[in-house]
């Protein structure tokens, strides 16, 4: 691309910022504009459910300071929402009446919280957590909150539950499935964390459906009504039931969308002049052949790196090993690989840390490892998964396996 060409990035979250930064560090010489509907500098999201709730220091969150953008010649267009993409003339229009013409468009639109469509959902005291603005509001509310109900026992719900509980708030977690984090971890790990929360006095209820948020008569939350069970008193309710990808712009522009903006292994969408990266995309996971949508820092970073490489002429297919982490009561949970389809589990004490690991297999083939309090083994698992030949269950053996030896084979 020549210096007169223009890459426009829609979305100033993790993926968008990373793409902009990587384009410049790969010496991309064209114009780069990073546009996002949030008014702040791009920021790191994971601390919002954890440390940020304690310290409330915005300056610890910025992914880059504002001098970085000037120095790297990255144009910022913040606090405006893109409302349309005209693919014929390669133009994106914004709600402030402005437009940006692109030679290549990168969609890094992210995801938004799923709404719980029950009566009372708009009452004062019902919150959700995705943005910095949400987190600031939540911090303010937590100073006088006494009883919190968290609807959703996934990563965000549990991290927030731990943060709130540490600040002295009484917490109940409501989960519609039969175990915690059922979408992402194996039963042994769910059980471990359930125990961690219950042992500090967090109430966890399973197989419960919320059918209303109860009004105190003045428009504030008074409690959470459950189908077939007693209502729970609350003055603060967090809805944490997952996210939906922001695909509307892509749908309206006629791009292929399938639970996420469909991209190939080079992040190219169904229009060769448009790429998509991060939480909003769906793609084929190379190791398993499955279509996936990953909600993680790793995926945002690695897909951003992939698109930047493509745009500077160093195309390299996306084959990164997925990995995730969560920090909650019970410690550090790290997942290497996609373990959701596993049909066999081998649980072992950690060989290095204080915790345990669960190796997950499908049809005797290694899918990945869920680690609790075993950070070094997590890193080894990631390396194992990156090997060109799939590791089998027979090679891993029992709990006396030598992971490092497998790596050097």
């Amino acid at each position: 691309m020549t210096s007169s060409e223009h890459v426009v990035i829609l979305g100033s979250g993790q993926a968008g910022l990373r793409a902009a930064a990587r384009l410049r560090s790969c010496s991309y010489g064209g114009q780069v504009t990073l546009a996002g509907d949030e008014p702040t500098l791009p920021y790191y999201r994971p601390p919002l459910s954890k440390d940020y709730l304690k310290h409330g220091n915005d300056n610890k969150l910025w992914l880059r300071k504002k001098e970085f953008f000037k120095k790297q010649n990255i144009n910022l267009k913040l606090g405006c929402r893109a409302i349309s993409i005209d693919r014929k003339v390669r133009r994106t229009c914004f709600d402030d009446g402005q437009h940006l013409d692109y030679d290549h468009l990168i969609l890094a639109l992210g995801a938004r919280n799923r709404i719980l469509p029950v009566p009372g959902i708009d009452l004062d005291g019902v919150i959700s957590l995705r943005t910095l603005e949400d987190a600031r509001e939540i911090r303010a509310r937590m100073t006088h909150a006494k009883r919190l109900v968290v609807v959703g026992g996934g990563f965000i719900g549990l991290e927030f539950a731990a943060s709130a509980h540490k600040q002295g708030v009484e917490v109940t977690v409501i989960e519609s499935q039969s175990r915690l984090m059922s979408r992402v971890v194996c039963p042994a790990v769910s059980d471990y964390f359930l125990d961690a929360y219950q042992s500090v006095g967090v109430d966890v209820q399973f197989a419960r459906r919320v059918d209303e948020i109860v009004d105190d008569g003045r428009g504030n939350v008074a409690g959470v009504g459950l189908a077939g069970a007693d209502a729970i008193r609350a003055d603060l309710v967090l809805i944490a039931i997952g996210v939906v990808p922001n695909v509307e712009l892509a749908v309206e522009a006629g791009l292929t969308v399938s639970d996420g903006i469909a991209v190939d292994e080079n992040m190219t969408a169904s229009d060769p002049m448009i790429s998509a990266i991060g939480d909003c995309t769906s793609f084929i996971h190379s190791a398993s052949g499955r279509q996936v949508r990953l909600e993680s820092i790793q995926n945002a970073n690695d897909q951003a790196n992939c698109v930047a490489a493509k745009l500077v002429g160093e195309k390299s297919p996306y084959t990164s090993v997925p990995w995730f982490w969560s920090v909650q009561y019970g410690g550090k949970l790290q997942i290497a690989g996609l373990t959701v389809d596993a049909d066999e589990f081998v649980r072992c004490p950690s060989q290095t840390g204080y915790g345990f690991v669960v190796h997950c297999f499908k049809n005797r083939s290694y899918l990945g490892t869920e680690c609790v309090g075993a950070p070094a083994e997590h890193i080894i698992a990631r390396k194992l998964l990156a090997l060109p030949n799939k590791v089998t269950k027979r090679e891993m053996g029992g709990c006396d396996y030598n992971l490092m030896a497998l790596l050097s084979d």
Binding site: A21, S25, Y44, P46, L63, R64, K65, E67, F68, K71, Q72, I297, Q298, N301, W325, V327, K332, Q334, T352, G353, P375, A376, H378, I379, I380
Partner: protein, 107 residues
């Protein structure tokens, strides 16, 4: 304002005027210093912010936590007694002039 000196494997030096209170990792990332990846943004999950700290300054730093120690076991470049995760080192005037030796690779 504390000066950090990053030295790559070829001996090239990059002097950076760091802000007290930032971590060495944050400073490197902000100033686009190549060689520190910080995949996990400073949450001690990835060991890609590994560097070797000049012996003279090592003792002025708070010691490694058990967690940092564990993560250092899996750095891509070989670990030695001067290895630290730079996301765990906070910049302050005490370490003005610290020499930070970047490893060959973080992967």
């Amino acid at each position: 304002m504390t000066i950090l000196v990053f030295i790559d494997v070829d001996g090239n030096e990059t002097r950076v005027d760091a802000t007290d209170g930032d971590t060495i990792m944050e400073t490197a990332v902000d100033h686009d210093v190549e060689g520190i990846e910080a995949e996990c943004g400073g949450e001690m999950m990835c060991a890609t912010c590994h560097s070797y700290i000049d012996q003279e300054f090592l003792d002025r730093l708070p010691p490694r936590t058990e967690e940092e120690n564990e993560m250092l076991e899996c750095t891509a470049a070989e670990r030695n007694e001067r290895s630290r995760l730079t996301c765990q080192i906070i910049v302050d005037p005490e370490i003005d002039g610290v020499r930070i030796f970047l490893p060959e690779s973080q992967y």
